[in-house]
Symmetry: none
Subunit: 207 residues, 4 copies
Amino acid sequence: MDKKMERRKSMIEAAKKLFAELGFEKTTMQKIADESKVGVATLFRYFPKKEHLIIEVVKEVLEEQLPYFEEISNSNKKGIEKINDVLTTNIMYISEENRDSTKLLEAFELYSAFMPVEVDLLEEIEKAYRKFSDIIVDILEEGKRDGSIHLSPRHEIAARALLNMFGTAVKKYSLYTLLPEDVIVPVPKKDELIMIKDILISYLQDN
Amino acid sequence: MDKKMERRKSMIEAAKKLFAELGFEKTTMQKIADESKVGVATLFRYFPKKEHLIIEVVKEVLEEQLPYFEEISNSNKKGIEKINDVLTTNIMYISEENRDSTKLLEAFELYSAFMPVEVDLLEEIEKAYRKFSDIIVDILEEGKRDGSIHLSPRHEIAARALLNMFGTAVKKYSLYTLLPEDVIVPVPKKDELIMIKDILISYLQDN
Amino acid sequence: MDKKMERRKSMIEAAKKLFAELGFEKTTMQKIADESKVGVATLFRYFPKKEHLIIEVVKEVLEEQLPYFEEISNSNKKGIEKINDVLTTNIMYISEENRDSTKLLEAFELYSAFMPVEVDLLEEIEKAYRKFSDIIVDILEEGKRDGSIHLSPRHEIAARALLNMFGTAVKKYSLYTLLPEDVIVPVPKKDELIMIKDILISYLQDN
Amino acid sequence: MDKKMERRKSMIEAAKKLFAELGFEKTTMQKIADESKVGVATLFRYFPKKEHLIIEVVKEVLEEQLPYFEEISNSNKKGIEKINDVLTTNIMYISEENRDSTKLLEAFELYSAFMPVEVDLLEEIEKAYRKFSDIIVDILEEGKRDGSIHLSPRHEIAARALLNMFGTAVKKYSLYTLLPEDVIVPVPKKDELIMIKDILISYLQDN
DNA sequence: GATGAATGAGGCTTCATTCAT
DNA sequence: AATGAATGAAGCCTCATTCAT
């Protein structure tokens, strides 16, 4: 049974790699099977439809990021520091070997905008996403209580939107950093992301 | 002669519509030909590879947006006002019948991140994109000269990054607004985009 | 346009041959395409689903038999003689190069009993079948009018059932005659079919 | 030991059910294993090839019908009554929960017409079939001896053919009765089968 | 120049059968 | 002996692209 989980993991890993490299549509089930050194039929035994595999991989990616954020949330720093940690982690996360993961997330967002994904599958993803936004919301509340964050109701809405936007930008950033030069559309560099983060932080402190 | 251009336009229009609806990969050349009421062979005569058509469509979309920004750039308002106009236009643009266009752009950014698009084709797109950023840069300079914008060198970099990020967010926003409910990932509502815009504007004024 | 019909015909012919030889399920679209010397895609262009092709072939087979029966129906013999001709033709038909056709019909009856064939497709087949039974019914009526057939109402029902049964048996007969020895189930020989036919005829004359 | 036979029986039962419902080709070994609550591997241990299982099931079906006919054969009625009983039983048999069995037989006849079944397997089936025809032949002889059946040599051949044909028709009938309406090809209703049976009986009495 | 027809390569998925526990 | 897991071969179908009219 452990063996099974291991195998499953290996397929998801292979899929993740290939999806991140080629995109969902150009990645064939056969390639994934080969990469993961199993027969196609085995792959289909674990994930009866390609879409199931896609969902599973995305879920996996989301879930492997979550602990980092939970750890921050559970630390005993002040709210504003936690936000700072979250954003910093977010930036760092994509700079390392995790770029694949983030690229994948970005790809999936687009994928789901076109393909009418089966509702119950989507729901699982939404749930995972919600965990992240819940963490942010909780920390914001905490920060308001401990006085490290000061936001009028009006500004709070703006703050949340800004935080969302930041997340979006970071993900987008991850999309292109793999390519030799930044392509097509200008994307912020890591340094710039940090600057923006600082702006956000100070925005949260006195509005 | 003129007929030719008309036809070409009609094919691009059909492609735009279908690409925005189905994504690049699910849109077949046959469907585009049908929608545009020409034979497939004709479509291929004009665009010998599907990728060429994709590029043309994206270029088209970019170019049809450009005049709005150029007009703003050429108006005789102060720099800060021009920036305000640009951002507002950006928000408004996607709210109307142009959502397709923006959705397309977003899709293409992802597409180009996966497919190693032929370099010379990409270059054309980059050129188009650069026009936009050039306009922004020019306006920023202008604002600094006319005193309506005040940015220390350090802050200027941040400001540019923020503006980029804003553009990214707006495009992303366009991706999901077509769907009944905001899906998977939280996207900012139009009101929130306006709030963020205001924050940006005030940021540009005294830093 | 004539070319098109010719091609279509050739594909149907190839399919007929292979279906009769291998059955519907063991006959692959690829084999049919090869046999008919077209690409698979072409085959699919003409018959977008395998089932469509099956239906088309069956319809074809039914329709190519029809003229023989119509000719008999339109002759100016007496009713009883027409029935005799019909049954004889039926027996003869399967004895010649048409065995494939009849075998196919038999196969399709079974196929349709298992596969839930699309209703509108089935309808077309039913219509074709109905033409045959209509001819029989018409001839029976005619025979009753011209006095060559005499059947009390009660016996008429039996007569029709007998005729149906006869048709069934003949088709079944065709199934096995291709095999070296009669297999598994005893099937009537041609001579026996003729004897049965004679019994039927005399049954129709005085009941 | 006994357990083994029980298991075997249960697999055959499951196979029978599924074969009758879906046909041989659409019924997978996995489904049969599931239905019979054993692992696939076990199923294969008992029946190393799907075809073996098919044969076994058909044999089973034939053998479970046999006793009814043997009982009739061993009764102490006159020949003609025995024939009557046999035909009636035949009609009744398919009207009850045994339709599956008969449908299966019909399906197998077609199956064997296409697939070149392994000869030794087929032989077993033939043997089973022969038992039935032997019973009929015996009863006919008996009837001739006891005077209840009167057939000239010429008519006897016809009579046998008629009896065969009757059997065929009854099996065919079973194929379609499961479907809502009689499909495609007209099949005799039960009442009509009884009428035909009566005709046969009287045919046997004075020819 | 415009077009419908033709096509092979390739994608997803299934299934009988074999392995390994 | 019993079983779930593994798998390659094969089937249906699609699509970008090329031919032929």
